[in-house]
Structures are given as C-alpha cells and as structure tokens.
Amino acid sequence: MKTKARINRFNVIDRLFHLSLMITFLLQTATGFSRLYIGTVWGRKVNSVVGGYEGSLQLHKWVGVAMILGFVLHSVYLLTRIKWRTPLKSILGEDSLIPNFKDLKHFGQQVRWIFGLGPPPRFDRWTYWEKFDYWAVYWGLPLLAATGLMLMYPLATSRLLPGWSLNIAALLHEAEAILAVTYIFIVHFFIGHLRPSSFPMNEAMFAGSIPLEAAAEEKPAWVARLRSERRVPEEGPAAPGRWYRVAYFVFGYAALSCGVYFLINGLLYARHISLH
C-alpha cells in the first residue's frame, strides 16, 4: 500500500538556520582555509577568489560575526522550543536532542544489526548520530567564536590574558576548524547524500517533511509514538514543488562539490603547511 502522506520533520525556522549555517560554513572554509594554505599554490589561487589576503580576512571576520549572531539567535530559539509547563519531560523526552541512555542502547543494537546479529534499533525522532551532528556544531561553534574573537581583538585579549594565550587560541581555532571541516565534508556528507537510504540526497532538511512511509521505516518508534498520540494527520504537509526541488538539489550538490573540492585539495596540500 503506497500512500502520499507526509510528516513534518523541520519547520521553516529550522531550515533557515541550516541554510544559513551551510552558506556561512562554506564561506568560512573558503576564506579560512585559503589563508591557512596561503603558502601553497592552491591556497593562493583560492585566496585570490575570495578577496585576497586582506579581503578574505575581512570577509572571514564578518561572516564569523554573522555566525555568532546566528548561534545566539538559535540558542534563544531553543529556549522557546522547550515546553515550559513540563520542562523536564520536554528537555529529556524523545523529541529533545539531549542524548540519553536509549542512545547508548541504540548504538549497541546498531552495531549488532550492522554485523547481522540482531534487528535494527527502533529509533525515535532523532538517531544518536543526528544528535551528535547537532551537538558537534553546538560546541564547535562557540569554541571557534571565542578563539576567533580573541584573534580578532588580540590587543584587547592580551590586556585580559597573557600574550601566549594567542598562540593557544590560534592553534585551537585552526584545529577545531580542521575537525569541523573533515567531519562535515566526510561524515555529514556521506550520511546526507551517499548512504543508500538518503541517496542521492536526503531532502528532509530542505523539503521540511518526509514521506510517512520513510519515516516509519527509519524512525519506527517516532511514528508509533505520534500515532498513539493521534498526532499523525491523514495527509500532512504538501510535497515540495518541482522547481523548489530542482533548486535545492542544485544548491545541495553545489555545496557538496565545494566541500569535496576543499577536502581533496586540503588533503593533497596538507604536507606543505604547518600549524604554527
């Protein structure tokens, strides 16, 4: 039995946050890594595209400030998402992204399933790797923001902290950027595009809704819970329009190719740079 029913996964605000994160993240990658690799031919080439040595830094700083604003806005938005009448249930419940013991259990089941030793885990709304994705950004961004601000205002920083803290800040900034970029361009892109269940592209983050069938297959516990609460509508939200789909496919693949381009060149040229 095939139905056209769909189920909401991300509202407009969630998607706008994700979209702006994508754009700012790629801009920071281009400006930041072209400066990190400025000693190499490739780095200079990319750097000249994104504004040159001075211009790219200017862009990097403004986009960084925009990301910090986005982070603050997102945190405020998070607070509004908590159901304040039942805060504990809302924060620790199944709709929340806070990791809990079930995630550990699911991980064990997932490993067993991978090796054919058991049934797949019955995920609820968020799988444990989706939760990790979320929190990776949520702690990586403040770290990059703090160290970035330190480097942006080195004199003010050195008034509060000893000068060598700038050495630490620069190293942390570079290392965390490398961690974020490799994680997103390898793991996140694989999960979003190459995994058989998402190939050629996991549309949830752009369409906002996914077919109910797919949801029931990937997140059975979630759909079952919604059903038992009678919160699954007959039809649900409309499927995304054709041209909208075309637009986000093009956009998604453009972002993917940017990422792969930076990943491959970054790896190729890695031995010509040093983290000083």
Partner: protein
C-alpha cells in the same frame, strides 16, 4: 717638573689598571638596574622580591678574561664544555664571529624560525622584526627584542598600541606537537594532542560507523527487493 721616579709611574699604572678592573668586575649593587618585573610590570607600586629576570639587569661588563667561545679566544674559556653551550643569548651582535654569515639567508641557518605565522602567512621578512645589522640577541639588555621593550620597539610598528602582554605572544612557537613544545610550551603541546586525539577519535569512530551503516542498508535493500520479487511471483 722633576721626572717622577720609576716606582711612582709603575704605581700609577697599577692603580689605574686596578681601578679599571674594579669598575669592570665590581658587581653592581643589587637593584640599581631594577626594572619592574615581567609579571607585574607597570604596577606603580611593587614590593620587590629581589629576584630579577635575566633580561632585567644590565649585561655584566665585558670581562677581559672570560670569553664566549667562538667569538673571541679568551684566556679562560666560558666553561669547559663551552662549545656545546648555546651562549649567544646576551650578545649585542648575536652573529659576531660566525663564518660566512654575510653570504647566507636567515632561513638557511634558522629553518625552525621560518615556520611562524608572520613569515609563512603574513609574508614578512625576518628583518622587519629583527632589524638591520647587528642583530642583537633576544636577551641582550639593549636589544629591541628584549622582552621589556619588544612590544614597543617591534610589535607596535605594525600592531598599533601593542602592550607588554601582547609582546608575550610567542612569535616562533615550537611546532605544537614536538618535544620542544612539551618542554617549553606544555599548554600548546597539550592543546595540540588533545585536538589531534579528538579529530582522530571522531573520524575513527564515525567514518567506519557511517560506512558500515550504509553498507548494511544496501544489504537490507537487496533483501527487500528479493522479498518483493518473491511475493510478486
């Protein structure tokens, strides 16, 4: 005027030599060279501990008999193993007596110092910071690089308003993962290895995890297709 007796002339000579020697060798009274300490520099009131960092006291006067090896052959060597000791850190010209100095680039003798951010990324030349000849040792009292004035004489040329603490930024930080960093800059070393472990750990977990999940999904699909085929037959 009558010619002074020989004995008087010898006495005068001896006296002047001894005065000169005393002037050269006499230890300066402690505190006469005091500059506020690095930790509490510019505090108007300082309770002195009496301990001074090396760069805060004037270099001792040139002592005629004790020479830095390799610069000038003195009567008494600096130390029996002087050749192995890096002892150019308090010279007015840190390259005094080095062979072929004029014909080489800074990088050829100091490859490690050419790895820093200012050289590698900001594309500065060594001389923009270290200045023209002679290049004084960092710790020489009158060196522009001396930590008590480095921020004003060097950094502030480009970083407007640089303060002493800003000057504490280690321009030639050792490679963060190296043994040198472990000894001289442990926090940098720890940061480096912490972040490296985090990176390697995260990727070592999530790459196989995602890949195997993908692979397993592929098998699950195959099975489904088979099942569907069977049910339609």
């Amino acid at each position: 005027m009558a010619r002074s007796p020989v004995i008087l002339r010898i006495f005068a000579m001896l006296a002047s030599v001894m005065t000169a020697g005393a002037l050269i060798l006499w230890p300066l009274p402690a505190g006469s060279d005091e500059v506020a300490s690095a930790i509490r520099r510019y505090k108007s009131q300082e309770v002195s501990t009496g301990y001074y960092e090396e760069f805060e006291v004037l270099p001792r006067r040139n002592r005629p008999f004790v020479e830095v090896t390799g610069v000038q052959g003195g009567i008494i060597e600096y130390s029996p193993s002087a050749a192995k000791v890096r002892s150019r850190t308090h010279l007015a010209d840190s390259h005094a007596g080095l062979d072929f100095y004029e014909f080489k680039t800074c990088q050829s003798c100091h490859p490690e110092q050419a790895e820093d951010l200012h050289t590698q990324r900001a594309n500065l030349t060594c001389r923009q910071c270290h200045g023209g000849e002679p290049i004084a040792s960092i710790q020489h009292y009158n060196s522009p690089m001396n930590p008590i004035r480095k921020h004003a004489y060097v950094c502030a040329k480009c970083h407007e308003g640089a303060n002493a603490s800003f000057g504490g930024y280690i321009v030639h930080a050792p490679a963060p993962g190296s043994d040198a960093a472990r000894k001289n800059f442990p926090l940098l070393y720890a940061t480096y290895w912490f972040m490296t472990l985090l990176l390697v750990g995260t990727l070592a977990f999530f790459i196989p995890h995602s890949f195997l999940t993908g692979l397993r999904e592929l098998f699950a699909r195959e099975k489904e297709v088979e099942n569907e085929d069977e049910s339609t037959h």
